[in-house]
Amino acid sequence: MTLLWGFLWGVAAVATIASGAILGVWWERKVAARIQMRFGPQQIGPFGSLQMIADVPKLLFKEDIVPELADKAIFKYAPLFVFGPVAVSMVVIPFTAGWAPLDTSVGILFFLAVPSIEVIAILLSAWASHNTLSTLGGLRATAQMISYEIPRSLAVLSIVLLAGSLRPLDVVEAWRWWWMPLTFIAFVIYFIASIAEMNRGPFDIPEAESELVAGYFADYSGMRWASFMMAEYGSMIAASLFGAAVFFGGGWPFGGALGVVVLIVKTILIMTAIMWVKWTFPRLRQDQLMSLCWKVLTPLAIVQLVIVGVVLPWL
């Protein structure tokens, strides 16, 4: 029975991410186009909203190219392990007060830890491609994603400290509006570190199209490439949902079904901000990225933690 439920949840999560990615791509195209003084997709459906529906069959029917020198088995299945952890991590998000798909007492830890498995898959896909540019991209991705785990986790730790629990539902329940100003630095750090985690601009160094062409997924095509892209959008959706839930109180000030709507609106706002950042800023360099992580974000996150710790006894 548990297995069946797990399977159904898995299908639901993949379907959510896939449809979210489709909508996300459309939304990103519109946002990016507006930032760049263009219109974006216009022709297919109202405001071009069916453009991605037209794009998906194209991706499905594209030739699946596997390079001659690639390590075939790893090359073929690595995209699955890039996409999988992102889908799994979504399961602990408290969609509304009192309800999360999986209610567990270590939910926050689960959310922060599980997507890290992605790093191994990325490194495998980069290595299996047998391509110097891919390998460089994979190495950059590994360094970046492992480093940015630390400020990201520290930022979330401030919230955990305030709520006194690692259970996402408890966090949402304990959440008060004045946490927003108190943990503002933590949210900014979480926001930056999440962008770095999902390898999006201005931290898209592993896939920098101008130097590494597409980095670790340079040799992928068709649906396998699409699963990398879905993983990127999936982690963007997951990070935005989680951020909206723990930093902005989930469905606050509403509960029930209305709470889910409010959470989704907050998520879309965070996602739009992520897109805005990507289409405004140039890309950082590898060393600048590392010094930002270790010299700025990590100390700041610790300072935030100390502030919360000092304030805590007086609450």
Binding site: A32, I35, Q36, M37, R38, T132, L133, L136, G201, P202, D204, I205, A208, E209, S210, E211, L212, V213, W279, T280, F281, P282, R283, L284, R285, Q286, D287, Q288
Partner: protein
């Protein structure tokens, strides 16, 4: 010390701005040695020119610097005119100045835009290309072509300005400086762009001169040398303009002075339109087949990339005996190994972009 990796950038790579292969020896992320291997776009234009009449060579020169075709047209025509002793009517000279300054804007927009794209600021690329597209549309109205114009001909230009074109140029020139200010804030005012461009690929002034660089590449290092002012040709002495100079010779200066050059180009266009008077646009009494007297002639102009020269040798026949194009992009690219050493792979891409090579001209 880790084991060194050899990475091939190109020949088909988005940031080589054409078809150039760069064999990069990497120590981790740091470039130990970068060797450009050029010639992938070599079409033997100098050899082909020996097989054509003087007028038939003009379309070939379009294919040299395909981002700035007007320059190669003009440089070639100046060499032919010098060789054959043709006097160009004044209106034609003004039209040439106007189209070439517009071409400078179009070409620099490509250069700045690709600096943005190389650093990952794709929006800056789009902003620059919106401006470039205005210029390209003006050229389309002028000569029916958007990329290879074949407009400047020996003895003048191929046809007079179409009706209403001057007003279109005026309205473009009026809005362009403000758009440049906006682009300056968007790209060069950005804190990440500054961190990426400043202090990267520093070219000292004496090296810039010794290695024969010219144009924005040399002026970014503070080499005060612009043929429009220092070896004036055509009607340039009649215009009042500044030559923007960089200080540090890094990628930031090289890319940014292109922006100010566009603003100065607007000033020149404005003055040229004021002074433009009706008259013929082609020299009178040109023979259908040019056969200059034996001898050789060289003439150069300041193109968007630097001093572009054409050396022509005639043996009295209707075909050039020898044509040599002194290509600024070729000389500018030769400093790449010096600049790239010790920087990271990401910087290498930015350095190539700041040199703004066009491989039609490098490989010829």
């Amino acid at each position: 010390m880790t084991e060194e990796t050899i990475v091939n950038i190109g020949p088909s790579h988005p940031s080589t701005h054409g078809v150039c292969r760069i064999v990069v020896t990497l120590d981790g992320e740091v470039v130990v040695k970068a060797e450009p291997i050029i010639g992938h776009l070599h079409r033997g234009i100098e050899k082909m020119a020996e097989n054509r009449t003087y007028l038939q060579v003009v379309p070939l020169t379009d294919r040299l610097d395909y981002v700035g075709s007007m320059y190669a047209n003009w440089a070639y025509c100046r060499a032919v005119e010098r060789l054959a002793g043709i006097r160009v009517p004044e209106r034609a000279e003004y039209i040439r100045v106007i189209v070439c300054e517009l071409q400078r804007i179009a070409s620099h927009m490509m250069g700045i835009g690709s600096t943005g794209a190389d650093t990952g600021a794709f929006t800056a690329f789009m902003y620059a290309f919106a401006q470039r597209d205005h210029v390209v549309e003006l050229f389309e109205a002028l000569c029916g072509s958007r990329l290879t114009y074949n407009y400047v001909r020996p003895g003048g230009v191929s046809m007079d300005l179409p009706d209403g074109w001057v007003e279109q140029v005026r309205s473009f020139v009026a809005q362009h400086p403000a758009a440049m200010m906006e682009l300056d804030t968007l790209l060069f005012g950005n804190v990440i762009a500054r961190a990426r461009l400043k202090g990267v690929g520093v070219l000292p002034a004496d090296t810039a001169v010794a290695w024969g660089t010219s144009g924005p590449t040399a002026r970014g290092s503070g080499v005060n040398w612009d043929l429009r002012r220092d070896d004036p040709y055509s009607v340039y002495p009649r215009f009042d303009f500044e030559v923007p100079l960089g200080e540090n010779g890094d990628c930031y200066d090289r890319a940014r002075i292109r922006l100010w050059e566009c603003v100065e180009s607007c000033k020149i266009i404005d003055q040229a339109l004021d002074q433009l008077e009706p008259g013929p646009v082609k020299a009178e009494g040109l023979p259908r087949l040019l056969a200059p007297r034996p001898g050789d002639a060289y003439d150069h102009i300041e193109s968007a990339r630097g001093s572009l020269g054409v050396y022509l040798v005639s043996d009295g026949s209707p075909r050039p005996y020898r044509m040599k194009v002194r290509s600024p992009a070729f000389c500018n690219l030769s400093v790449l190994p010096l600049l790239a050493e010790g920087h990271t792979l990401s910087d290498l891409v930015v350095i190539i972009g700041s040199l703004d090579p066009v491989f039609g001209e490098v490989d010829r």
